[in-house]
């Protein structure tokens, strides 16, 4: 399970970075989602394997750490808001510049 999680984090991160470097702005936005999900998975795995019982139970076995889950929850909400914001920016950019190629969006270069 450890190996699987680390592989998933690594592959998601690599795919996210790859997509973010693409010229198509929509793909780059998807890359952003992949990246934030890989980080969420990493945060989650930071405390996922420390205990077997649920954090709220009165079980005598070692209870698992609830904090990383709270962190992931917060991070998911924030990245969702960020993604919505990026999509709205993309909407404005695509109507204004009539393109989805980030190389064509170069008004600031002049």
């Amino acid at each position: 399970m450890n190996l699987l999680t680390s592989l998933a984090v690594g592959i998601l991160f690599a795919a996210g970075i790859y997509q973010i470097l693409r010229r198509n702005v929509i793909r780059a936005a998807i890359g952003l989602v992949l990246l934030s999900n890989s980080v969420n998975l990493f945060l989650f795995s930071a405390g996922a394997y420390n205990g077997a019982a649920a954090a709220y139970s009165t079980a005598t076995s070692q209870i698992s750490d609830p904090l990383p889950q709270a962190l992931v929850l917060t991070a998911i909400v924030i990245s969702m808001g960020g993604f919505a914001f990026v999509l709205s920016l993309l909407y404005v950019i695509s109507t204004r510049y009539k393109t989805s190629d980030s190389d064509e969006v170069k008004g600031l270069k002049n």
């Binding site: 973010i20 780059a28 952003l32 990246l35 934030s36 980080v39 969420n40 990493f42 945060l43 930071a46 405390g47 904090l67 990383p68 962190l71 917060t74 991070a75 924030i78 808001g81 960020g82 914001f85 990026v86 920016l89 993309l90 404005v92 950019i93 204004r96 969006v105 008004g107 600031l108």
Partner: protein
């Protein structure tokens, strides 16, 4: 000392967000409410400073009354209060500027709510005592800052906001990776607890990884060379009232991160980080100075100048002596005031030009009908270059003095030479706007000059009567170099 009073400077701007949003139909009332809330918040921050100075220990509040390190800790030591006052002072000036601004963006119903969100994010980032909480406030700053730039009158605002948001999201990803790594290594997120555990066991697996990720994050946030590339575009395209805040305050969040990292969190590994900061700072001073020389836009020139000034601060943090830390703090404070005033003046001139732009081709000669603005710009430029009797002189003197004391002659020589460049580009900008003639210039109403006047006045006062600021900065430096007391107070529950 444990008191809920600490929440007030944070909650006033944050509560202002929904309040001003409800007032979106009454623009005047909305803007005045925002200003009143920020002024009240500033007043409470000064009260906080008094409390910290008299009790000589950090003020803290455990959210939900959970004992540290289990709950989220808000803690204000002298460093936090110092940054808080600087932030809210400049934010108040920014709101005053927005009140008298002719830009369309201030008429936008969500301008003041977003501005207050930015204020709340900045205030929170400085008084939180929890590293994940810092991440949350950093995100508030990023989203509100990017949204404020996206709605700018400048037609490239959206593009700049897009660019900034991508870079900042990458920084956030690094930040979360760093937080996760530190949590794996040390099992806590509280600054004080983390510092104590790192000092106990500096080489826990993933501990250094966390430090590296946090370093990358704060380098991006403070727009240090080589992570600066987004900054001039972003700061030049933002609405004037906002760009003054971005260039003077938002980058300081990264600087604050380095203060905390080198003096509290990673004291055992700090030498590596400090060397990096000195090198990047020196390169930043050179790059920012020469970059500013090569620009054709007043706001862009000032944005490049921020790169150079952040470089000075990082060099001060990197030397890490009590005097150089105090110098870095004074520099941080003074730079915030000067840079905000200068950007406001550049924006005010741009608002009086034929086409609304801060490009030198457009604003050349605009100053003909505005000699007072020219006088202010000259004073601000002198402060930026470090000429007495303005506050920039005090900060540069302290930096150079601390360099001599630390016997760091090579970096000192380089930044000394590079700081002369400041004078060159300021004088060039001044002569182009105020002394060259341009037949197309007509008298025109523009943004009011009250806010930059107040800030320049403050710069003058802090230059002539710098003793209070310097003594607070020295007390702060002495304080943050003794992290033991901070850790004991927070963990003891005060």
């Amino acid at each position: 000392m444990n008191t809920a009073y600490l929440l007030v400077p944070l909650l006033l701007p944050l509560m202002g967000v929904p309040i001003t949003l409800f007032m979106r139909k009454q623009r005047r009332m909305q803007s005045v409410t925002a200003l009143v809330l920020m002024l009240a918040s500033l007043g409470f921050s000064f009260g906080l400073l008094r409390t910290v100075q008299t009790t000589l220990e950090p003020v803290q509040f455990q959210l939900g009354l959970w004992q540290a390190p289990f709950g989220i800790t808000l803690a204000a030591d002298l460093l936090s209060v110092f940054m808080l006052i600087m932030t809210q002072l400049v934010l108040c000036a920014g709101l005053i500027y927005a009140l008298g601004s002719t830009e369309k963006v201030v008429q936008y119903p969500t301008f003041y709510p977003l501005f207050l969100a930015l204020s709340g994010g900045l205030s929170g980032a400085f008084i939180t005592g929890d590293i994940f909480n810092l991440f949350v406030f950093a995100e508030i700053i990023v989203i509100s800052g990017a949204a404020l730039t996206a709605i700018a009158d400048d037609k490239y605002g959206v593009e700049a906001a897009y660019k900034y948001f991508y870079i900042s999201t990458l920084a956030s990803v690094f930040f979360l990776m760093g937080v996760g790594s530190l949590y794996v290594a040390y099992g806590t997120l509280n600054y004080a607890d983390l510092a104590a555990r790192i000092a106990e066991n500096p080489s826990a697996p993933l501990g250094l990884t966390g430090m590296a990720f946090l370093t990358a994050t704060f380098l991006i946030k403070s727009a240090t060379f080589p992570f600066h590339f987004w900054q001039p575009d972003f700061h030049a395209a933002a609405p004037t009232a906002v760009s003054a805040m971005l260039s003077s305050l938002v980058v300081k969040m990264g600087v604050y991160g380095f203060f905390r990292m080198t003096t509290l969190l990673f004291t055992t590994e700090a030498d590596m980080l400090k060397t990096l900061l000195v090198v990047l700072g020196v390169v930043g001073v050179l790059y920012g100075g020469f970059g500013a020389l090569g620009t054709h836009n007043a706001k862009r020139m000032l944005a490049y100048s921020t790169l150079a000034q952040i470089g000075f601060i990082l060099v001060g943090i990197g030397w890490g002596t009590p005097l150089s830390l105090a110098a870095a703090l004074v520099f941080t404070f003074n730079h915030a005031i000067i840079k905000a005033a200068m950007l406001m003046l550049a924006g005010a001139m741009a608002s009086r030009a034929a086409v609304k732009s801060a490009s030198f081709d457009v604003i050349v000669g605009v100053g003909k009908y505005h000699p007072f603005a020219g006088f202010l710009f000259l004073l601000g430029g002198m402060a930026l270059a470090g000429i007495p009797p303005l506050n920039g002189f005090v900060s540069k003197l302290m930096i150079f003095w601390s360099g001599v004391e630390a016997a760091q002659y090579l970096p000192l020589a380089i930044i000394g030479v590079a700081s002369i460049v400041t004078l060159v580009y300021i004088i060039r900008a001044f002569t182009r706007v105020w002394f060259e003639s341009n037949p197309e210039v007509k008298p025109k109403q523009g943004d009011q000059l009250l806010a930059p006047t107040l800030l320049i006045l403050l710069a003058l006062i802090l230059g002539v009567w710098s003793e209070p600021l310097v003594s607070i900065a020295q007390a702060t430096a002495a304080w943050i170099l003794e992290p033991g007391a901070y850790i004991a107070t927070i963990m003891g529950g005060g």
